[in-house]
């Protein structure tokens, strides 16, 4: 197995995806709403289907808006169900996203002859194919660059997330750690909540179009959770989770390409391998983190 320009693009797309997800995911993890990423990534299915059935076009902008809107709706419905019925938030999330997913399946089945949506592609993604969809063809300093569409989309989303996190860092921090204080300081708790949800929905949609819904969940939750074990400072945690995410992307793709080659197999799924890489990183963090790691805690405990 050799490394091509192709592979560099895959890593670049994966890294951007991981970075964009880590920015939004850090606040999800701190607010104990990690499963919202999972719920949203499943629930965008009807949004995609409706956007397609209404406009008949498969242009990304329409699909993007439809999916992102359903993502935000998932958060709204979850809030409604849990408030109206006094239902625990996890359960109301489960009710909402399974229902929306089923609705999406139904819509796709009804319009099967017209809808060209593959549920498998939605669930697993096809990061290996992203470099094929080229949006711009530049030659910079004699180097020929074929920039993939996914790279541009994820780049824009990453910059958007970065802008939100940088400009609203203080607000996000207060509302993540102390919503009551945030309210007394005049921050609108509902606004911050839905801002975060919009961020997650947009990121999820942008990312899963490129890389599939599992990778989105893995990148939203696992690097921030690992970073949370490594540091007590929010700023450090956000930066660290971005770094860890990028590391997972590079390591995951390298493992997907090179590991099977050792035993003479073909390359395996990159998005799956990125999730596995993230899992390994989390496991290492859980064991060896300097203060919150299992080993460090074991040393501190009276039994030695």
């Amino acid at each position: 197995m050799e490394w091509y320009v192709f592979d560099t693009w895959i890593v670049a797309v994966g890294a951007l995806c991981a970075a964009a997800c880590a920015l939004a995911g850090s606040f999800l993890v701190l607010r104990r709403m990690s499963m919202m990423g999972d719920a949203i990534s499943h629930a965008v299915l009807p949004g995609l289907a409706v956007a397609f059935l209404l406009t008949g076009s498969r242009t990304s902008v329409v699909m993007f808006i439809g999916a992102a809107a359903t993502g935000v709706l998932t958060a709204v419905f979850t809030q409604w169900v849990s408030r109206l019925g006094n239902v625990e938030r996890g359960a109301s999330m489960g009710i909402v996203f399974t229902t929306l997913f089923a609705l999406g399946l139904l819509l796709i089945a009804r319009g099967a002859e017209r809808v060209d949506l593959d549920p498998g592609c939605v669930l697993f993604g096809a990061i290996e194919l992203t470099p094929l969809d080229v949006v711009a063809d530049w030659t910079v300093f004699g180097v020929h660059l074929e920039i993939p569409r996914a790279f541009v989309v994820l780049g824009v989303v990453f910059l958007l997330n970065l802008a939100v996190v940088v400009f609203l860092f203080k607000e996000l921090r207060i509302s993540a750690f102390d919503p009551a204080l945030a309210t007394t300081l005049g921050l609108h708790a509902g606004f911050m909540h839905y801002l975060l949800m919009t961020m997650v929905a947009v990121t999820t949609v942008a990312a899963f179009e490129a890389v599939g819904s599992i990778l989105v969940i893995a990148m939203l939750i696992v690097p921030p959770a690992a970073a949370h074990l490594l540091t007590d400072r929010l700023g450090t945690m956000v930066v660290l989770s971005v770094v860890l995410g990028v590391f997972c992307a590079a390591g995951g793709h390298a493992a997907a390409v090179f590991l099977p080659a050792l035993t003479g197999h073909d390359a395996v799924s990159t998005s799956g391998m990125m999730a596995v890489a993230a899992g390994i990183l989390f496991f290492a963090a859980a064991l060896f983190a300097p203060r919150h790691g299992i080993l460090a805690k074991g040393r501190r405990s009276p039994r030695g």
Binding site: V29, R32, M33, S34, M35, G37, D38, V81, L84, G85, N86, V87, E88, G90, A91, S92, M93, G94, I95, T98, T99, F101, A102, L103, L105, L106, A109, R110, A112, P119, G120, L123, I214, L215, I217, A218, L220, I221, V222, P224, A225, H228, L229, A256, H265, D266, V268, S269, S271, G272, M273, A275, V276, A278, G279, F282, A286, H292, I294, K297
Partner: protein, 472 residues
């Protein structure tokens, strides 16, 4: 109430069915589905119904333990197990279609996923939700990696694996039926046999442990039950939609009752009904994926429960909250009038023509009521016969109103005296605290209050004690 749910579902059933088929063939189709004439339809209907029952039972435990999304993590964590089992089966037997092997693999990694969630939660500072997300995505990712290896294997097709991901409800065979019935029977037996143990575990785990019960073993047993339902259901409705079976019927049942036994029965009923109706609908309208229709049926039942459920339903709670608000307002009015009359003499005479009308403005000042609000409160009191007139000048109590006012004021002051005597609350602060409880004091509690007060502070049988604080 449940009859209403049934009727509504039949309507839904009929409406959709009617839209789907033309009138003639529709009658035949309908009859063959309802009467289970067709062998395959019968198999599918009975299987999904049983699966719904099993899912409702297992899901109730998850819901009450606030672990609903555990089913989510579990069902995703089965993927690597399924694929690994498939690879082993291909390697040793040459074919990967063995159902028993696949679900064993699914159960092993599914349960492993649950255990990892519990370990992450208890060993690190990562919370429940993140632990589930980590297990879900990493296990699923590992499954995808394995799947991409299998797809390169020349030995066998992956046909058996597809059905696990999206379900193949409409094409279930006899073996699936046996499996699903087995799972349903086991979950029913387990729920009945361990009813008391599971109930205590759901509501007070700490107490169960202090009683010497093996809570960890029970916990694992409960998760095993959920795993069983999940892996069996994967085949029938697919990896995402089995989550719905574990959450939605249980959440619907919770709207109707607060009793554990009833909740289990209702959840099983709702699950079974969704399975039956959903599969029936999709049999009537070919082309509708059965798994999705089942979930949407369950969701429709949930919305109905959310609105109409007598225990936690929106309507019931709104009505209860409104009734309480009305009662509190009425009692405030009565006590307000009493206090105004009391100012004019030591033992006020409350009703009758000689008692002066109380002007609106005086009452408005009593509790920051707006004129509109006060008019509304007085109008409702008038309808109950507590107030005699409500003309331009003011308000006068009827005999019934006078008795009620004295009783309400008496309760309020008994509680105030009690707080001053026993809770050491300053007399100037006691008014507000008494305000919070006086409306829900029962007759028995009032008697105990009277008995517990020192003799000097105890009022006569129907006398109203003096207020321990100056009245505004």
């Amino acid at each position: 109430m449940r009859k209403g749910a049934g009727i509504l579902c039949v309507f839904l059933f009929l409406a959709t069915a009617a839209a789907e088929a033309s009138a003639d063939s529709w009658r035949d189709d309908f009859a063959s589905v309802v009467l289970l004439r067709d062998y395959n339809t019968r198999l599918v209907l009975v299987s999904t119904t049983l699966l719904g029952i099993a899912g409702g039972l297992a899901g109730s435990f998850l819901l009450l333990r606030k672990r609903s999304l555990m089913g989510d993590a579990l069902s995703h964590a089965t993927l690597p197990g399924i694929v690994l089992a498939f690879m082993f089966a291909v390697h040793f037997t040459g074919t990967g279609r063995s159902f028993a092997v696949l679900i064993t693999g699914a159960a092993v990694t599914g349960l492993l996923g649950c255990v990892v969630v519990l370990l992450i939660r208890s060993l690190t500072r990562v919370k429940d939700d993140a632990a589930m997300g980590i297990v879900l995505s990493v296990f699923y990712g590992a499954g995808v990696v394995l799947l991409s290896i299998v797809q390169h294997m020349p030995e066998a097709g992956t046909a058996g694996l597809e059905s696990f991901l999206y379900g193949k409800t409409a094409s279930m065979v006899r073996a699936d039926f046996y499996l699903v019935s087995g799972a349903a029977v086991i979950s029913l037996i387990a729920s009945l046999a361990l009813f008391k143990e599971f109930r205590l575990l759901c509501f007070d785990e700490g107490y169960a442990r202090s009683m010497g019960w093996p809570t960890h073993a029970l916990d694992v047993l409960m998760l095993l039950l959920v795993t069983l339902v999940t892996v069996v259901g994967l085949q029938a409705v697919g990896v995402v939609l089995i989550i719905a079976f574990l959450i939605i019927p249980a959440a619907s049942a919770r709207m109707w009752t607060s009793r554990f036994g009833w909740m289990l029965a209702l959840a099983a009923g709702f699950g079974g009904a969704s399975g039956w109706l959903g599969a029936g609908l999709s049999a009537l309208a070919p082309g509708l994926p059965a798994g999705a229709v089942i979930v949407l049926t369950a969701a429709a039942l949930f919305v109905l429960s959310l609105l109409a459920g007598p225990d936690r339903g929106v309507i019931a709670r709104t009505v209860r909250a409104r009734a309480l608000k009305r009662r509190v307002e009425r009692q405030h009015l009565l006590r307000g009038i009493y206090e105004v009359l009391e100012e004019s003499g030591p033992a006020p005479h409350l009703a009758g023509d000689s008692v002066p009308l109380i002007p609106w403005a005086v009452l408005e000042r009593k509790r920051s009521w707006s004129p509109r609000e006060l008019r509304g409160v007085v109008r409702r009191a008038y309808r109950r016969g507590l107030v005699e007139t409500m003309d331009r000048d003011g308000v006068r109590l009827t005999d019934a109103g006078a008795r009620a006012a004295a009783r309400v004021t008496r309760n309020h002051r008994l509680w105030e005296i009690y707080l001053v005597e026993y809770a050491d609350i300053a007399p100037t602060h006691v008014d507000r605290d008494a305000d919070a409880v006086e409306h829900i004091l029962g007759a028995g509690l009032i008697r105990r209050l009277e008995a517990s007060l020192p003799v000097a502070a105890r009022p006569a049988a129907d006398g109203v004690p003096a207020s321990p604080h100056p009245i505004r």
